[in-house]
Symmetry: C2
Subunit: 357 residues, 2 copies
């Protein structure tokens, strides 16, 4: 007899993108920012490391919450910092989805939601997206109406498209919480700052943000949720007391205080994204118009898996993705290509050209 | 209608010890180590901060696992690093306790276990300890036999006493997992190194360790579990992919590589502990013989809460604790006093003397 819960025995566990530990790779597979974080981050880490690491961090992470609150035009009690956005997703699942409750999320989308629902013992259903990544509201409405938790990345992954405010408000369940996973929100041409939380349905919406992408800090694991204090205070009961550490708090606070640095990098990435998209199309790929720091690309004839393997043999990693049972039972495959530096992008395009020409 | 799970609405949330953010306090309330971490820690953090913080950390935390495995004479796949020992306790609850399953833990003991069981939706029962902190096995046996998860701090908190190997083996449930929370294990006169995992019942035991206490790193949030790979591999499915960050991994790895530094500090703390215990007794307190970095102390006549308040007004924090419904329905109160530096301890004893004399 297994000692584990049946739910744990059943699942495979989420498999993150490859993270080679040796140098020499061009990594376009896990949507990291190719540019370094603000120089203020290293200064803040040095100052924190010279302080008292033998003492627990501030469990309320007050300084970060005040800074993030100001950015979103809300008070500090609207902010919940976490050990990466993944932790906030875990906290959300444990806060709002009881065993047997229905959880739903778009498909194809971020696969982790399904794993987290499985671990929690919740039921889950996919909200099948149209082939052009738009919503079929007639199809998904009954599932949403029954859901206690709906999780929607916006911009979506792997597609990179962004849904409008009206579309998003259509996804709020009458008796549930809508999580807007805005991990890639800063890469949109017109980034949001939580304005949707002030709408009539705002008290049922939680926005999650991360410093891994736009702030170039995947290594420090820091994300935060923005929501009405009624939601944040309940979620706080679920989190571990000291879920962020002295060094990551210092780094994260310094990073969001340097908005100019972040915006300079997201501007560069948006410019490279436009060029990457155009070049992919000129090579015969279809490429979704992206509002994120990656481009979803498919080729009408060539094997995506083979392209991925050939690139890998040349030390370029992109993400080969396979979504079985998409709309009408079809299997969707494709390549999700992170927007790197111009140099990395040129090198990738040169190799890709030699593969598909 | 609440959007939260009923379990979340019901609980209050765990309240950690006071963490004043301003200086000038003598903090003897949250069992921090008064000595700084190994100088190698700051070097390792500086090197990591100069590296690529824009890239995700190693999700397998390989270097740390290899070092910790060597310390415990096991392979790296026996080790699960976590964002503080609290996160490993959360992972254990989510791995082994299904909704409605029975979870048990000694009482009086670490209150967090109860909160985590509540969040998970598990049933829980207390294993009432005798007044001298020993086990009444006849009393607790039926509860243990029915438990899927038993959590036991050893040394225990708030008492600081350590139970023997034979006593611990008596606490393994026939169909469950025993968690030995060895947060204070390095402060014992004869510290264990996971030998119990090699016993016949070893495959049902998980040891959790933290770097917050003996390694003086409460600020970086790093703990690890040691158990048979069959248990670790299942627990790994539950954890977030990147639960430790680049800086904390560097700090933790450097810290456990400097065993001499840690042992030098634990030796000093053991010496101060002996003196603190003797002085408390000479002031008319009862003090449990401690194997941890704190002393549980009670006074036959004086109000513990008043002593705590008076000390606090003099900027000395100790932990006033109240355990309602201990053995035979009695309420137990007392002071848990962290072993500080000799200077802090002298200052505390001087103030305490002026209060109780």
């Amino acid at each position: 007899m297994s000692l584990f819960r049946p739910a744990i025995d059943r699942i495979e566990g989420y498999l993150p993108g490859e993270q080679p530990q040796e140098t020499g790779w061009i990594k376009l597979n896990t949507n990291e920012n190719p540019y370094p974080p603000s120089p203020r981050v290293a200064e803040a880490i040095a100052a924190a490391a010279a302080g008292k690491l033998n003492i627990y961090p501030d469990p309320l992470v007050t300084r970060f919450r005040e800074t993030a609150g100001a950015l979103f035009n809300v008070d500090a009690d609207w902010i919940l910092p976490a050990n990466g956005s993944d932790e906030n997703l875990t906290i959300l699942m444990r806060s709002f989805a009881d065993g047997g409750d229905l959880v739903s999320f778009p498909y194809p989308s971020y696969i982790l939601y399904e794993t987290l629902a499985d671990i929690q013992g919740a039921r889950h259903q996919r909200l099948q997206l149209n082939k052009d990544w738009s919503w079929d509201f007639d199809r998904v409405r009954p599932i949403i109406n029954e859901s206690r938790l709906v999780l929607v990345p916006n911009p979506n992954s792997p597609s990179g498209n962004e849904w409008s405010r009206d579309e998003i408000l259509n996804l709020v369940s009458p008796n549930g919480v809508l999580v807007l996973d805005e991990a890639y929100g800063d890469f949109a041409d017109e980034p949001h700052r939580g304005q949707i939380l002030q709408s009539d349905l705002g008290r049922q919406i939680v926005i999650t943000r991360t410093l891994s992408k736009s702030y170039s800090l995947a290594g420090i694991r820091f994300g935060f949720a923005v929501a009405h204090p009624d939601l944040i205070s309940g979620m706080r009961k679920v989190k571990d007391s000291y879920n962020c550490n002295t060094l990551s708090i210092a780094a994260a606070t310094a990073a969001i205080q340097d908005q100019d640095w972040m915006r300079k990098n997201t501007r560069k990435i948006r410019a490279t994204r436009a060029r990457l998209t155009a070049e992919l199309r000129s090579l015969g790929f279809e490429a979704v118009e992206s509002q994120a720091n990656f481009v979803w690309s498919t080729h009408p004839e060539r094997s995506h898996q083979e392209i991925y393997q050939t690139l890998k043999s040349r030390k370029i990693l992109v993400r080969f993705m396979k979504f079985p049972d998409a709309l009408d039972g079809e299997e969707i495959t494709g390549l999700r290509i992170t927007v790197g530096t111009d140099e990395e992008t040129n090198r990738f395009l040169a190799e890709l050209t030699s593969i598909v020409k």
